[in-house]
Amino acid sequence: MNQDELRNRLFEILHRIAPEADLNRITPDESIREVLDIDSFDFLQVVLGIHKAFGVEIPESDYRSIATLRGMMEYLGNR
């Protein structure tokens, strides 16, 4: 999967959580939770969405690594 496909699949997951947001305006190093106003329940849904879409189970200790779009793409790109 190339970077564009990875980004698109992440956007699909984030769109389900924050349908009103313009995801193309998120910069790579912004906090996803802050910019999309995502609470801990929504964030768990993001983790679940990633698990379903990519088959990757992210432990809680790695949540900091996926706090930004760049972090998510690097984390998933390495798996």
Partner: protein, 367 residues
């Protein structure tokens, strides 16, 4: 024949718009079935029925807005038969009078018509006063002249009523969450991602257990007395993405273990945001929890949702200096508050509740 009425989905609700029927005459319904969708100022709600039987007649059409208490449909209970057509004895009502009666929630059978052949006229209906219509809406404090969206208006009404009627008292305590969070981390390591627990679930479960110790905080203040409830229906304040807050309840929370509670909470949040809450979840909360820790708030001083008598507030869990066993340590500390209705309980019982709550969170294996 049993009337199915527009339910009151909270102290602040005066009317609702029927948006869709999910039943038709002749359908069999049972208690708990979702039979209609109703749009209120706060949200779209799936309305349940609390009678079992056969649908006889639908009296209100979709897109009609009617006051709380208006008969929406009639249900024939088991063994009942439909009343025969009344022929010439049937009450005569002008179409406009009928429409007006529905709009105002007035039972036409209680009106004596003064028109030709005893027909009920518009004037007859206007003279009749529906109980719900007679209630003067609460004045709403408005901080600006901008139009208020429906949900804001509903919250304003309920909170204004609360501050007007409920003599609040506030208590707060700080809780060392070290053991609870360690225990949670251990639990989540063993669980698949779809069953992971969030700290909020521990907080809800601890509230439920503490209410067993101090049950006076779980109930309603009605008719100048406290009605304690045996079921613990925890209302959980949920922020909606379009703005505003709604506090649906997880019904019979005391029957759930942590895994079931987590699943119920995720389901409730998803349905709240999609507009698919059930009427009982809106109307039957017996206590409310507001957790604003995600937003960085340290301490929550909540406003009780009438007719409930208590609200528990949780701030964020933050690392703080903490003295444990005679030594200074850094611990994750949570501030929990109780807003209590002083008509129903006093500070002593409130303090006992917070003490019990703190105890359960310090011994998470008991949750």
């Amino acid at each position: 024949m049993t009337p199915f009425r527009m339910p009151s989905l909270g102290a602040d609700m005066e009317s609702g718009k029927l948006t869709r029927w999910k039943i038709k005459p002749g359908d069999r319904v049972k208690r708990g079935d979702i039979v209609a969708e109703v749009e209120t100022e706060k949200a779209d709600i799936d309305v349940e029925i609390f009678t079992s039987g056969i649908v006889h007649e639908l009296l209100v059409q979709p897109d009609q807005k009617v006051p709380v208490g208006t008969v929406l449909a009639t249900i024939l209970e088991e063994g009942e038969t439909a009343p025969p057509p009344q022929g010439s004895a049937r009450q005569r009502v002008s179409p406009f009078a009928k429409k007006l009666a529905i709009e105002r929630g007035i039972d036409l059978s209680t009106i004596r018509g003064t028109g030709p052949d005893g027909a009920v006229t518009r004037e007859d209906v206007e003279r009749a006063v529906a109980p719900e219509a007679a209630v003067t809406p609460a004045p709403v404090p408005v901080a600006s002249t901008a139009p208020i969206a429906g949900i804001r208006h509903a919250i304003a009404s309920a909170m204004a009523r609360s501050n007007r009627e409920i003599p609040h008292y506030y208590l707060e305590t700080r809780i060392d969450m070290h053991r609870a969070l360690e225990w949670l981390k251990d639990q989540n390591l063993k669980r698949p991602v779809q069953e992971r627990l969030l700290p909020a679930v521990l907080l809800i479960r601890a509230v439920v257990l503490a209410l067993k110790d101090v049950p006076e905080l779980n109930g309603y203040w009605k008719n100048d007395r406290l009605e304690m409830k045996s079921a613990v229906n925890v209302g959980f304040a949920i922020a909606l993405r379009q703005g505003g807050l709604i506090t649906p309840a997880i019904l019979n929370t005391e029957q759930y273990d942590l895994t079931q509670l987590m699943a119920a909470l995720i389901d409730l949040i998803a349905r709240a945001r999609e507009g698919h809450l059930r009427s009982s979840e809106i109307a039957e909360g017996t206590i409310t929890i507001t957790s604003l820790g995600d937003l960085g708030v340290e301490t929550v001083y909540g406003v009780i949702y009438p007719p409930q008598v208590a609200l528990v507030g949780f701030g964020r869990i933050q690392e703080s200096a903490w003295v444990a066993e005679g030594a200074l340590a850094v611990r994750p500390v949570l501030t929990a508050t109780l807003a209590g209705d002083h008509r129903a309980t006093d500070g002593r019982r409130g303090a006992q509740f917070l003490s019990a709550l703190s105890g359960y969170l310090r011994e998470p294996e008991k949750l």
